[in-house]
Amino acid sequence: MSAQQEAAQAVESYAGERYKYGFVTDVEADSAPPGLDHDTIRFISAKKGEPEWLLTWRIRAFERWLEMEDEEPTWAKLHYPPIDYQEACYYSAPKSDSDRPKSLDEVDPELLKTYEKLGIPLQEQEMLAGVAVDAVFDSVSVATTFKDKLAEMGVIFCSISEAVKEHPELVQRYLGSVVPYSDNFFATLNSAVFTDGSFVYVPKGVRCPMELSTYFRINAANTGQFERTLIVADEGSYVSYLEGCTAPMRDENQLHAAVVELIALDDAEIKYSTVQNWYPGDAEGRGGIYNFVTKRGACRGANAKISWTQVETGSAITWKDPSCILQGDNSVGEFYSIAITNNRQQADTGTKMIHMGRNTKSRIVSKGIAAGRSDSTYRGLVRIQPKAEGARNHTQCDSLLIGAECGAHTVPYIESRNPTARVEHEATTSKISEDQLFYCRQRGIDEEDAVALIVNGFCREVLQELPMEFAVEAQKLVAISLEGSVG
C-alpha cells in the first residue's frame, strides 16, 4: 500500500470516530409549529415583543422571498436534495425564556452541562481571560457575560433581540444596510424569520478591550436556525469578534441560514474570526448541517479595515462568502480561510472584494483541503469599480488533495474596470508530497501526525491570523478533522 493510500485511509478512519460533540440536550422547547406563513412571522415577532417597524420589515422580506422560488442558488458546486421549507420549525426557545435568568445560577443546569461538554467557557472561573461570551442556544441568547465591564467603555454587546428593545435607533439605522432584505434567497429568508444573534456597537475612538465571542449551537430537531449578527464599529474604534460553533449529532439535515453584517466607519477596524465545526454528517453523508451563510462587511469610512478569518471544518454543506465592500478611500479588506472537507462533505466558499474607493486594498488567502469523497470549491470575486484608483488586490488560493476520490475546484472571478488598479491572482492544486511524508516518517513521526504537521504548515498563513485563543483550538481542529481514530 502506498503512503498516499495509507494517508487516505487514515483520514477515512476519522469517519468511524463518533462525532466528538454529538449529543442532544434534553430541554423543553417552546416552539412554533413547523411551517412558514405570515402567521409564523407574526408569532416570532410577537414572541420577541418587537416594534412595528421590524415586523413590517420581516413581512416585506417574507413576501420578497415568496417571489424568489426559482432563485435558490444553483450555481454553487453543491448537491443536496431540495429543502422543504414548510417542514422546518422557525422558532424554538428554551422554555426558561419566559423568565430570563439574571445570573448563571438561574440558567438551566442541563444547558450549562451542554456547554461544559463543548468546553465553552461560560462560567467566569472557567473563562479564558479576556473573553466575553454571548452564547446562543438554538435561537435565543441565554447569557451574556462581562457586559458590565464593556458597558463602562460604552461598548454595547448583547443579543440582537435585546438591542431591538434597548437601542432601537442603532438597530433600525444599520440592520439590512449591508445585506438588504432582498439580497439573496437565504438572506431574505433569514430577514423574515431571524430569531436571535449578537449585536455589537463600539463607540468612537474605543478600542474594545477584549475579544468578543459567541458560540452557536443547533439543538432541537428540525429547527432551522437563523441568526442575525450586526456589528458596528464607529469612527476610530476597534473590535475583534470570535464566532465558534459545534452542534450535536442529528439524523436529519438541518438548515442554518445566518446573516452577519459588519459596518466599519472612518478609521475603524473589525476583525471577525470563525471556527465552524458543526456536525458534518456520517461517512455516507447522512445527516449534517446545511450551512448557507451571508456574511458581508462594509468599510464605509476612509481607512476602515475589515478582516475575515475562517476555519471551516464542519457541516455537510457549507455555502458562504464573507465579503467586503470597500467604499471608503484607503480602506482594506482581508479574507483568510481554511476549508477542510472529508467524507461526503461539500464546501463552496470564498469571498467577494468590491473595490469602490481610491487606494483600497484587499488580500485573499484561501487554503482548501479535500479528503475522502468530499468536494471543496473556492469561489471568489474581485471587482474593481471605475473609481477605485490605485486599488490593489492579491489573491493566493491553494488546494491540497488527500486521496483519489475528492475534488478541489478554484473559481475566481476578476473584474477590473480601472487601469491604475493592480490585481494579482495565484492558485495551485497539489497533493501532499511523498517526499515530505517520507522525510517526516524517517524522523520518526507517524503518518497521521506527519499529515497533520504538513497540513498545518500548509494552513499556517491563515492560522496565524487567528486570535491566540482560537489559534490553538483551530490547529487542533485541523488535526482532528484529518486524523484517524488514533490519539
Binding site: 483519489a404 476578476i414 491604475t420 490585481v423 491572482h425 495551485t428
Partner: protein, 441 residues
C-alpha cells in the same frame, strides 16, 4: 430582474419563400443533424445567465436581420478580394468568401504526399458516406448552442487530413473573408482536421472582412490529432468593426499527440474564441497561446476548456491582452482534471494590460480537479504598464508614448516567439506592431 438564460433570436428572419436548400440536404443523417441544430437554435442565443456567457452578451446580434445563409449560395463570388494577411506565404490555401469555398481562389497545386484538402460542400456531393463518418451524429452537438447554429445553417467548409507519418513543410492556409456589403450576412463554416498518427502540420486560419460590414461568422473547427502527431494551429482574426465572430474549436488529442494553438485576436466588434481541448491519450500535450488587443468599443472573449481525461498529460496556457479606450476583454479558462488523470501537469496564465481608464477585463481562471496526484496552477494579473518599467525607459530618454509602446511590444512579443513557422510569425508580429502604432487592422 435576473439575466436571461437565452436571448430570443429570429434567425434567419422569416421569409415569404420556403428556406432554400443547403448542400447535402436530403442526406438522412445530415437532415437529422440539421434538424437537431434547428431545434436547439430555435431556443435563441445563450444569455448572460448562462455561466459560460456571463461576461459576453450576444444581444446586439439580435438587432441584425440575417437572411438564410442558403439564399446567398447562388451569388457570384467576386474575382478581386483585396489583399490578405498571409498573401506572402507559400503553400496550399483555400479561400472562403462569405462562407463559401471559392474554387477560383484555391491554391492546391503540389500538395505534399499524405496531405489531403477538400471542400465540404463538394465532399457532400462526392463522398457523403465519408463525410458522415467524419461529422458523426447529433450527439456531437452536446447541447452547445453555437455548435447547433453551425450544424443547422452551415453551408460549406473543408476537410484537412494527413496520412500517418506525413509531414507538411508549408502551412495550409484557410482564409475566410467577407465580401464588402451592407446587408447583414451570416456564415457558419465547418472545418474538419484529422491528423494521422505521427504526422505533423501547421494550419493557419485567417478571418478577414471589410470595415463596417455587418457580418456574423460562426465557425466550428473540429480537430483530432492522432497518436504522436503534432498540429500547430495559428489563428488570426482581423475582421472589420461591424463583425461578430463566435468561434468554437474542439480538439481531441490521442496519446503523445501535441496540439499548439496560437491565436491573435484583433478584429470584430465582438469576438468570442472558444476552445475545448480534450487530452484523451496518455502523454498528450496541449499548448494554448492567445493574444488579444482591442480598442474602441471592441469586445473580445476568450473561453477555453482543457480537459485532462487520462494520466500523464501536460497543458500550458498563456493568454495575454492589451485593452484600450472602452474595449472589454474576457478570459475564462477552465482546466478539468478527471479522477483518472493522475500525474497531470497543468499551468495557466492570463495577463492583461489596461491602457485606458474605461477599458475593462473580466477574468475567470478556473481549476476543477478530481485527481490527487497532480500539479496544477493558474495565475492572473491585470493593470496598467508597470510604473517602474516606464520610469526606467524614460530615464533613458524615451518619451512616455514610446516607452508605453515598447512595453506593450515586449508584453505581446513573448507570445509570438512560440510560433514555429518563421514567415507566419513575421505576419503576426507585423499585425501586433501595426496595432500598437494605432493603425486599424
Amino acid at each position: 430582474m435576473p439575466a436571461p438564460r437565452t436571448i430570443p433570436f429570429d434567425y434567419p428572419v422569416p421569409s415569404a419563400s420556403p428556406a432554400p436548400a443547403l448542400p447535402g440536404d436530403g442526406l438522412p443523417w445530415l437532415d437529422a443533424l440539421r434538424g437537431e441544430g434547428r431545434r436547439l437554435s430555435a431556443g435563441g442565443l445563450p444569455g448572460t445567465r448562462t455561466e459560460a456567457w456571463k461576461y459576453t452578451s450576444l444581444a446586439p446580434l439580435t438587432e441584425l436581420e440575417f437572411s438564410h445563409p442558403a439564399a446567398t449560395l447562388t451569388e457570384a463570388i467576386p474575382a478581386e478580394l483585396g489583399p490578405g494577411a498571409f498573401d506572402a506565404l507559400e503553400g496550399p490555401s483555400l479561400v472562403f468568401v462569405n462562407g463559401r469555398l471559392s474554387a477560383r481562389h484555391a491554391q492546391l497545386d503540389g500538395l505534399p504526399a499524405g496531405l489531403r484538402v477538400r471542400g465540404l460542400a463538394q465532399g457532400l456531393a462526392d463522398d457523403p458516406a465519408g463525410i458522415e463518418a467524419l461529422i458523426g451524429g447529433t450527439e456531437a452537438l452536446n447541447g452547445d448552442l453555437m455548435a447547433a447554429f453551425n450544424a443547422a445553417f452551415g453551408a460549406d467548409g473543408c476537410i484537412v487530413e494527413t496520412e500517418p507519418e506525413a509531414a507538411g513543410k508549408e502551412p495550409v492556409l484557410l482564409r475566410f473573408v467577407a465580401a464588402p456589403g451592407s446587408e447583414p450576412l451570416a456564415y457558419h463554416p465547418r472545418v474538419i482536421v484529422r491528423l494521422g498518427a505521427g504526422s505533423s502540420l501547421t494550419l493557419i486560419e485567417c478571418h478577414e472582412g471589410p470595415a463596417g460590414a455587418p457580418t456574423w461568422s460562426n465557425p466550428f473547427v473540429d480537430i483530432r490529432v492522432g497518436e504522436g502527431a503534432t498540429l500547430s494551429h495559428v489563428k488570426l482574426q482581423v475582421e472589420g468593426d461591424g463583425a461578430y465572430h463566435t468561434a468554437l474549436t474542439k480538439a481531441a488529442l490521442a496519446g503523445e499527440a501535441r496540439y499548439e494553438s496560437h491565436l491573435l485576436a484583433l478584429g470584430a466588434r465582438l469576438a468570442r474564441h472558444e476552445i475545448h481541448v480534450r487530452l484523451a491519450g496518455e502523454g498528450a500535450d496541449c499548448q494554448l497561446r492567445g493574444g488579444y488587443m482591442a480598442r474602441g468599443s471592441q469586445h473580445i472573449d476568450n473561453t477555453t476548456v482543457i480537459d485532462h481525461a487520462v494520466p500523464h498529460c501536460e497543458s500550458r496556457e498563456v493568454y495575454k491582452g492589451v485593452l484600450d479606450d472602452t474595449a472589454r476583454g474576457v478570459f475564462q479558462g477552465k482546466i478539468i482534471v478527471r479522477q483518472d488523470a493522475q500525474k497531470t501537469d497543468g499551468h495557466q496564465l492570463n495577463r492583461t494590460l489596461l491602457l485606458s481608464p474605461k477599458a475593462e477585463i473580466d477574468t475567470k481562471p478556473e481549476l476543477e480537479i478530481y485527481a490527487d496526484d497532480v500539479k496544477c496552477s493558474h495565475g492572473a494579473t491585470a493593470g496598467e504598464p508597470e510604473a517602474d518599467q516606464l520610469f526606467y525607459l524614460r530615464s533613458r530618454g524615451l518619451d512616455l508614448r514610446t516607452a508605453r509602446k515598447l512595453i506593450v511590444q515586449g508584453f505581446m512579443g513573448e507570445l509570438l516567439e512560440e510560433v514555429g513557422h518563421e514567415p507566419t510569425r513575421a505576419v503576426l508580429a507585423e499585425r501586433v506592431a501595426a496595432w500598437i502604432d494605432g493603425g486599424r487592422s
